[in-house]
């Protein structure tokens, strides 16, 4: 088969149609690429996606924070961390020296009444929630290079817990499921309406990428039934909207979400990313059970990359790529993000050898 453009390749992969090779994409921890630049292995200001010729470019264009004008107000600061209040009424603490998910300190929303009073009235689909210019620029750049361009962002699970915290959200699923369902429905409507506004003004992307961290080690946060009843309908609403526009949907989830997968597929996802090995996910098993319905992206143990264990990386690629490339529908990616201990040489081996094995 003659070489395809990235846009053609990912389009076909998401439709599980013939391609010249598997796709490629990656996420990196914030310190990884600067280190490679410092070592002279990447150009200053060079985009790592350009450096490794990844097939996908993403843009996060929407702001779902309740009070968009609030910003972040520092509450406390020490040598290592900053504690701040944000526009969701949440008090969070983050590290100064490295990027990571912030610690949840406190939430002003603890139940339905707080939600209805403090958050829901603010969730209007207003243009000031959309970065039109940045979307336009990113979309044009991707189109210019024939890359597959996704509008990326959070979906309802990742929108709700920043407002009330994981514990209040999860307890709400058991104590007041209608409240959680209502929050999910509100955010789904907001997301769809913002997409409508953006697409009407700037045009469509090539696909949509939703980030939803619904699992942790060896189990999802909720049962399949809770997903089906409380979160699934909101996912379906947003995915149905994308499909109506002719857009395929990639859904990210960290953690072990295999028990939710039948219902996630029912909700309409076209591709599952990131397939976290250390949480218990197994790409070959998922390929066998769901490969006829969805494409996959990820599933290579980032710990091997972190340890620069080339023999283990090679062994894993040799074992998995032949099976994952069958029937098309696979995009090469680690099982989370590449940490700073991974050398440029190691990552280059991973992507080069993986794509060599993944060429049809």
């Amino acid at each position: 088969m003659k070489p395809m453009t990235s846009k053609e390749r990912i389009h076909n992969i998401l439709n599980r149609k013939p391609v010249d090779r598997i796709g490629s994409y990656e996420h990196f921890w914030a310190a990884t690429n600067p280190q490679w630049i410092q070592e002279g292995l990447m150009e200053k200001d060079e985009d790592v996606s350009d450096h490794f010729n990844f097939d996908i470019r993403e843009h996060w264009s929407l702001n779902l924070v309740a009070d968009t004008a609030f910003g972040e107000k520092t509450v406390e600061e020490d040598e290592d961390t900053v504690t701040y209040l944000n526009g969701n009424g949440a008090t969070l603490r983050k590290h100064k020296k490295h990027t990571t998910t912030p610690e949840h300190v406190a939430f002003s929303v603890k139940d339905r009444n707080d939600w209805e009073e403090k958050i829901k009235p603010l969730l209007k689909a207003a243009p000031d929630r959309i970065d039109f210019a940045a979307y336009r620029k990113a979309r044009e750049n991707a189109a210019h290079k024939n890359l597959f361009f996704t509008l990326s962002g959070i979906n309802v699970f990742e929108a709700i817990h920043p407002v009330c915290g994981h514990e209040n959200m999860l307890m709400g699923m058991a104590l007041d499921p209608d409240w959680v369902s209502e929050m999910a429905s509100t955010y789904a409507e907001l997301i769809v309406n913002l997409h409508e506004i953006l697409f009407e003004k700037e045009g469509l992307p090539d696909g949509i990428w939703y980030y939803e961290d619904m699992g942790f080690k060896e189990r999802p946060f909720m049962s399949a039934q809770m997903y089906r009843e409380l979160i699934g309908p909101a996912h379906k609403k947003t995915i149905d909207f994308a499909h109506a526009k002719g857009l395929k949907v990639i859904m990210h989830s960290c953690g072990f979400v295999e028990p939710l997968l039948p219902d996630m597929v029912e909700s309409g996802i076209d591709c599952l990313q990131v397939i976290e090995i250390k949480a218990g996910m197994e790409p070959l098993r998922i390929k066998k059970n769901f490969g006829d319905r969805i494409a996959l992206c990820g599933g290579f143990d980032a710990r091997n990359l972190a340890n620069n264990d080339i023999p283990a990386i090679k062994r894993e690629l040799d074992e998995k790529i032949p099976a994952l490339k069958e029937g098309f529908g696979y995009i090469l990616h680690s099982d989370h993000s590449v940490p700073e201990s991974c050398t440029h040489e190691t990552y280059k081996f991973f992507i080069d050898y993986g794509l060599r094995l993944g060429t049809y």
Partner: protein, 208 residues
């Protein structure tokens, strides 16, 4: 005293109001609160832990059961203190230095308390000194949690600094494995929250 089925069921179902009602009545009637705790409340939380391990219940059910348990405990604590009640032992728990992810750590703490342990919750971003200070305060087991591959290596520092003392170190979290625990010389590894409780039981010779 035999198991109070209504109280046991109230905790299992996370029915906080029912638990408060039953426990308050017991306190008013001067029923032996230690027996209530040992025969009904702790067995209910241990059973929830086992069901969690078998994927029969998930985090939402665990959280509301713990909330109900905590409500009941707060009512009997004064009487427990008065009677000289002793917990199964004092343990401490925290996420390691650099790691601010506390959901998993909180779940383990909840289950340890529910199982009858006194828990010194050190919070997040704990350095070696913080863990050592808890050992000085009487903690027999240190439970270290890490979510990230980038923060996990600090567990080795904790293990090294505790070696030679009487305290044991149990590690857990998304990137952590039994192999890693062996590699750094930790005394135990918990694959999930309930497994961590069972590991503490084993290290302290507690028969549940």
């Amino acid at each position: 005293m035999s198991k109070n089925q209504e109280l046991y069921d109230g905790i299992m179902k996370g029915n906080r109001n029912k638990v408060i009602e039953i426990v308050q009545k017991s306190v008013t009637e001067e029923v032996n609160v230690e027996e209530i705790l040992n025969d009904s409340m702790i067995p209910a939380m241990r059973e929830m832990g086992d069901r969690f391990s078998r994927n029969e219940v998930y985090v939402p059910e665990m959280l509301i059961a713990a909330r109900a348990m905590q409500a009941g405990l707060s009512l009997i604590e004064p009487a427990l203190t008065k009677s000289g009640h002793k917990s199964l032992g004092k343990v401490c728990i925290g996420t390691v230095k650099g790691d601010l992810h506390d959901i998993g750590k909180n779940l383990v703490a909840i289950m340890l308390k529910g199982a009858g342990y006194e828990v010194d919750d050190l919070g997040v971003n704990c350095d070696v000194e913080k863990f050592r200070a808890s050992v000085d305060r009487g903690s027999k087991v240190i439970l270290c949690s890490a979510l990230l591959t980038t923060t996990m290596p600090y567990m080795k520092d904790v293990v090294s600094s505790i070696k030679g003392s009487a305290a044991k170190v149990v590690i857990g979290g998304a990137p952590v494995t039994q192999d890693y625990a062996n590699q750094i010389g930790a005394d135990g590894y918990g694959s999930d929250a309930n497994d961590a409780v069972k590991m503490v039981d084993s290290l302290l010779g507690v028969k549940a």
